[in-house]
């Protein structure tokens, strides 16, 4: 009786046993992670599915919780800087900047112009670095392996530049309270110039690999819809917020570290999907290149540390020739510096959104409380809204599009 399927379908126990729609027995619970290649670290998702359709996504976090906020309370103010690198390990300089700005606000310290411009320059390089990792891994999750290799080629040069200024590729700790740690090596600006000269062409290259690719387009377009109202209600910041049509960028709207002196556009899209986030981030990379160029062209000369001997470590030369500098050096290293009592919040635009540091001082040399407001932590709450009703494969695309870093979610 080949060809007559109706008999089999009609009597199939499998089909008859299928519970009705809406019934609890119809769904199953699937664990994604904590060791899943597309969850970018140790994120565990408890996904309730009906067939291939996602009904609920509940993130379970905390696998990477190391109590950084508690540890900060036991350190001197200057000792907290290396801790901040380890929060968002893909954008160390942004973390350093937010923390240093917060403490400088408490101290009411004036930072020399050169240090401010250098901070802007390295922040934008950090943004490029972070977005390159995002693009490579996001494309790899979707199945386009080639882009990853191209992205890491350029990222390697950025990491070499970081190594040249700070001695470290990833955990840079280059910024200090009161300025920068060291004057950069002589040929550094030439190297950065060389890199950002080729960057626009390279970004076009990535775009050529992906934008016209029909698989890439169909995996991204219309997936993970997040309206502007939902984005604001759920605390989403950064590129996902701008991809939902909200024109908000802290660099332009609440400028810090002399960002007001730079000309750049804030890319916004009204498509509200994964595709929009991809387009916004690519445009952001182009704007970052422009900001780097402006910073290189107009880089002021002068000191890189504030004139505050009780807070900023003296130069090595001075320390060996002047008694006073030696004493200050000894005091800062052994006792730290005291910060007037008060509380401040400093938000900066990190590659993932608003990175905020809330520092409370009680007038001693150790912070009374340091709290980090992390963009990924808040954005993760929007996962349910973006994934419900879509396929499991879309969850992977959505996680890639919000660009999470588990280090900053768990802290």
């Amino acid at each position: 009786m080949a060809g007559d399927l109706s008999e089999f379908v009609g009597t199939s126990t499998l089909l008859e046993a299928r519970p009705e729609e809406g019934s609890k027995d119809r769904t199953m619970v699937l664990n994604m992670g904590p060791q899943h290649p597309s969850t970018h670290g140790v994120l565990r998702l408890v996904v309730e599915i009906d067939g291939e359709t996602v009904l609920n996504v509940v993130p379970d976090i905390g696998y990477l919780h190391t109590g950084i906020e508690k540890t900060c309370e036991a350190k001197f103010y200057q000792q907290v800087v290396p801790m901040t690198d380890r929060i968002d390990y893909l954008s160390p300089m942004t973390n350093n900047l937010a923390y240093c700005l917060a403490v400088e606000k408490l101290l009411e310290l004036e930072i020399p112009e050169r240090a401010q411009w250098m901070r802007v320059l390295f922040n934008e390089l950090t943004r490029l670095n972070s977005h390159l990792v995002w693009l490579g891994t996001h494309a790899m999750d979707i199945g386009a392996l080639t882009v990853f290799l191209y992205c890491f080629r350029e990222r390697e040069e950025i990491l070499r530049i970081f190594e040249a200024v700070s001695g470290q590729r990833m955990m840079t700790s280059y910024f200090r309270v009161g300025g920068l740690s060291l004057e950069p090596p002589l040929d550094l600006f030439d190297r950065i110039q060389k890199l950002i000269k080729i960057m626009p062409e390279r970004i076009d290259q990535y775009q050529n690999l992906l934008t016209g690719n029909p698989i890439w387009v169909s995996r991204l377009k219309g997936v993970g819809h997040l309206s502007a109202e939902d984005a604001i209600a759920l605390g989403v910041t950064g590129p996902p917020l701008r991809a939902s049509g909200v024109d908000w960028d802290l660099r332009r709207d609440m400028p810090y570290s002399s960002y007001e002196k730079f000309q750049f556009k804030v890319p916004v899209s009204n498509d509200c999907d994964v595709w929009a986030r991809y387009v916004v981030r690519l445009d952001e990379m182009r704007e970052s290149v422009k900001i780097c160029q402006q910073a290189l062209d107009g880089m002021p000369s002068g000191p890189i540390k504030a004139n505050a001997p009780k807070i900023v470590l003296p130069d090595r030369e001075q320390m060996k020739t002047q008694m006073e500098s030696l004493i200050y050096h000894f005091k800062i290293v052994t006792e730290g510096f005291t910060v007037p009592a008060g509380q401040v919040y400093q938000g900066v635009e990190s590659p993932r959104g608003e990175m905020g540091y809330y520092v409370v001082s009680d007038g001693t040399a150790k912070p009374y409380r340091v709290h980090m407001r992390n963009p990924s932590f808040a954005t993760l709450q929007a996962l349910q809204t973006m994934c419900a009703g879509r396929l499991i494969a879309d969850v992977v695309a959505v996680i890639g599009s919000i660009d999470i870093v588990l280090g900053e979610i768990d802290r």
């Binding site: 976090i61 905390g62 919780h65 109590g67 906020e69 508690k70 540890t71 309370e73 036991a74 606000k105 408490l106 009411e108 004036e110 604001i232 209600a233 759920l234 605390g235 909200v246 908000w248 709207d253 609440m254 008060g342 509380q343 401040v344 919040y345 938000g347 608003e354 905020g356 809330y358 409370v360 009374y368 409380r369 709290h371 407001r373 932590f377 808040a378 993760l380 709450q381 768990d410 802290r411």
Partner: protein
């Protein structure tokens, strides 16, 4: 640079135009128990039982985006916990800090999840690490620490090395 912080009365006088202060004073008289303007940041202390209403009022006044909810433990002084809310206005380009003091005998406060759903994770974090409970929170479970963990690590009487 040395700017002196402004106290309650000075803030009300100097910042009478401020939308948050004006709307809070007109719709919730008495809700602001203290105010401070320090280092260009405005801090308003809100009575504990009025925090949700105050959040609604400032949201209507244009402070549309909740950035952060956290807590500071002022052990051993009472009231011990300072629950802190950072709210930013996209239209006014201004930031506002609301704080509310919670004592240790009844360490609880109203949840603001009905006003801003984004407070969900933040309040769970404060509950987990400080032990402050939030009334009306839809899912008040530990978020960072394991479910069976004893104690609240960010309290000042919790040692950095952990209990031995």
């Amino acid at each position: 640079m040395n700017s002196t912080p402004l106290g309650k009365d000075e803030v009300f006088e100097a910042l009478a135009e401020n939308r948050a202060i004006a709307s809070l004073q007109s719709s919730l008289p008495g809700a602001i128990t203290d105010a401070k303007f320090d280092r260009n940041e405005l801090t308003l202390t809100i009575a504990r039982d009025q925090i949700r209403a105050a959040a609604q009022v400032v949201q209507k006044a244009g402070y549309n985006f909740l950035e952060d909810v956290t807590c500071v433990d002022w052990y051993p002084s009472e009231p011990r916990f300072q629950v802190t809310y950072h709210i930013v206005s996209h239209s006014l380009k201004e930031r506002l800090r609301l704080i509310s003091m919670v004592d240790s005998v009844d360490a609880s406060i109203d949840s603001i999840v009905p006003v801003w759903p984004s407070a969900n994770f933040y309040e769970r974090e404060v509950f987990d690490l400080f032990g402050v409970r939030f009334h009306g929170h839809p899912n008040l479970r530990r978020i960072m620490m394991p479910d069976e963990w004893k104690g609240h690590p960010l309290r000042k009487d919790y040692p950095v090395e952990g209990y031995r």
